[in-house]
């Protein structure tokens, strides 16, 4: 990709969106270390799967739309499918942890709903 294809304002916008998105994802990754219990930790990676992902997808949409000279919305599908499939993983993780904690009789096991 050469300089002529992407004007300066486009480059700034893409960099701002991508870096902000990456910042949220990095914060989520740091949360995996900083938070203490399993149930708290599961919240952290959601940052990368929601706002982090949305901003990076937006950066990609802007980049390809500006360089190709037409609206390219293909990348929105990444956002759609990621949003629809992430709950499956997180609910499975939560269920597995709940089952383990209840079976072992841990003090911080979730109560019955």
């Amino acid at each position: 990709m050469t300089k002529a294809d992407l004007p300066a304002w486009g480059a700034w916008l893409v960099v701002a969106l991508a870096l902000t998105g990456a910042g949220f994802s990095l914060t989520g990754a740091a949360g995996l270390i900083r938070l203490r219990t399993f149930y708290e930790r599961v919240h952290a990676p959601t940052l990368g799967a929601t706002l982090g992902m949305a901003l990076i997808v937006a950066a990609s949409v802007v980049f390809f739309s500006v360089t190709e000279g037409r609206l390219v919305l293909r990348d929105l599908l990444i956002g759609l499918f990621l949003t629809v499939t992430t709950p499956v993983t997180l609910i499975l993780l939560g269920r597995a942890a709940t089952y383990r904690d209840r079976a072992e009789g841990n003090a911080d096991a979730p109560p019955d709903p």
């Binding site: 949220f24 989520g28 949360g31 149930y39 293909r74 709940t98 979730p110």
Partner: protein, 180 residues
């Protein structure tokens, strides 16, 4: 094609109306059509024709799974709900980032909230699980279909009753209108 599929699985959904026979799942057809066009830009007569073909024929495969018919209503409510969710997702992303980076002042309590749900539609519950999971700070732990109670883990739990009201008023009520 349609006749061959019908001989293979005769007990499809809603076969009475001729339009249903031609288009068994109109929403799925529309989704596939839009997905195909998004994946294959630019729009030319050839890609448009392929998108129509895919959107028309692929839903016949779904008939083998016999999914429960979905009825979506109240487009205005859907838009309002989408707006609420968008605001909540951005806000809770910032809140959770603050918690992780240690910018939140005061003591933080984390815990479980039990919410009695009146929503029974499986599609409505699926959308609710997506909303609650896409909002950092809330985690869907367990749903008991016998009692309709949902167990939620909340990262920053200030007031349990406030969470019950928030889920019921902000998300559950619009979803019950949409999937009634």
């Amino acid at each position: 094609m349609a006749g061959a599929v019908r001989r293979l699985c005769p007990r499809g959904p809603r076969w009475g109306h001729p339009l249903n026979r031609l288009l068994p799942y109109p929403l799925l057809s529309l989704g596939l059509f839009a997905t195909w066009l998004l994946l294959n830009p630019p729009l030319t007569p050839a890609t448009g024709l392929l998108a129509v073909t895919v959107g028309w024929l692929v839903p016949f495969v779904m008939r083998a799974l016999r999914p429960e018919a979905v009825r979506v209503r109240a487009p205005g409510v859907i838009l309002g709900l989408a707006g609420h969710v968008l605001v909540d997702v951005v806000q809770s992303n910032i809140d959770v980032a603050k918690v992780i980076l240690g910018l939140r002042r005061g003591t933080r309590r984390t815990g479980f909230v039990s919410i009695p749900l009146d929503l029974r539609s499986p599609y409505g519950l699926a959308v609710l699980s997506i909303i609650l999971t896409a909002t950092p700070g809330t985690l869907w732990i367990q749903y008991e279909s016998n009692t309709g109670r949902l167990l939620l883990h909340v990262l920053d739990l200030v007031d349990g009753d406030a969470w019950v009201r928030r889920v019921k008023d902000r998300y559950e009520r619009p979803l019950m209108e949409v999937f009634s």
